[in-house]
């Protein structure tokens, strides 16, 4: 099954491609690598959750938010590449988690997007990852997801 077929088989719909919140572009494609901007967990322009994880937002909500941000990254990639089937390998995923004092379960949150990538892309979705606690994030998002992806011509 191709990635696009798996997406359809799972009944998973990607959100519309994101609009940057500033003077940048969602994806830069250059020399076989797609650099994807930091994505927020928006649904129709509204954040799925808001605030610091560990106090204002639960780990479960934040995991779901990380997954949603990942769907936005895939949507941005599809808008640039034409088809997700051009993804050759996810290289790096960075998951920034707005963290309340003492919150140290950033990896649990990050799994929300990591598991999505493996589920949808299979082995090419297996990525290097960094997860860390941010002080606060744009728009008061609980999580922001950035990635670099190798793509076929």
């Amino acid at each position: 099954m191709t990635i696009e077929e798996r997406l359809r088989a799972q009944g998973l719909e990607l959100p519309p491609p994101p609009t940057p919140k500033g003077a940048y572009v969602p994806v830069v494609l250059h020399g076989g690598t797609a650099w994807v901007s930091g994505m927020l967990p928006l649904r129709r322009g509204v954040l799925l959750a808001k605030g610091l994880v560990g106090s204002e937002v639960s780990v479960e909500q934040a995991r779901e938010a990380a997954r949603e941000a990942g769907l936005h990254a895939l949507s941005a990639l599809r808008a640039t590449l034409g088809s997700l089937d051009r993804i050759e390998r996810v290289l790096r995923v960075a998951v920034y988690v707005a963290s309340a004092p003492g919150f140290t379960s950033q990896p649990d949150v990050a799994n929300g997007v990591s598991e999505l990538l493996i589920e949808l892309l299979g082995d090419p979705g297996r990525h290097a990852r960094v997860a860390l606690g941010a002080a606060r994030l744009p728009m008061d998002a609980p999580v922001e997801v950035e990635m670099a992806v190798a793509v076929r011509p």
Copy 2:
């Protein structure tokens, strides 16, 4: 107009190339990609502003600081490349904003450097971006700017 001509036309002078605050180099050039270290908003060795944005430093000051850090990145690139005209595309810009509790306007701050890049480089300056809130930054800088740039041989 080339990038260097545009720089002169705008009367914009780059600061002297930065000196690393540790055991690293300002730029690594390898295989057509220039990896630029995190740059601070220094002017003659002194930070333009100091402290957390949203309490000790205003958004306007932080935007200006992000722009200054961007000028340092360009200065480091010129010292490595010989000329900014070798820049083919800015791939990724990361803007770390030292954020006071509750500060969520990191994108406004990041626009300080993003707009500089587009103004000076035109389309090749359009980049993927991540902006996030750091707890604190080196030397108590309000902002730190890192980038990856594709360059011509």
Copy 3:
């Protein structure tokens, strides 16, 4: 001397290759670049130190922790590459320091890993670097180290 010889000459032993704390892989190798996941300062599964640098953890302890995280990165690279002698150049090192309020000496902490890389790898160990203050880190680690490395076929 090759890197592996230097390692032996210094009597330096790498820790066993790390096990990811989530749904990702320690290293992705693609097109001559190795993307190394965020590494924590673990020794036999236990963190060398725990908590925020500047209050719960001293700069000296955090430097040592950064070095240990760097050894894990090298161990992960060796497991993927077969030999560290395949390292052509360290491109980028990111050092995330869990920072207490007011702590701004992230570069001193980051030198723990930067100096290790130069000591072991020589000139190919000279890297671009970003060091910043995180709110908290996974497992309450004081420091997390991520890198991208150019490798020979």
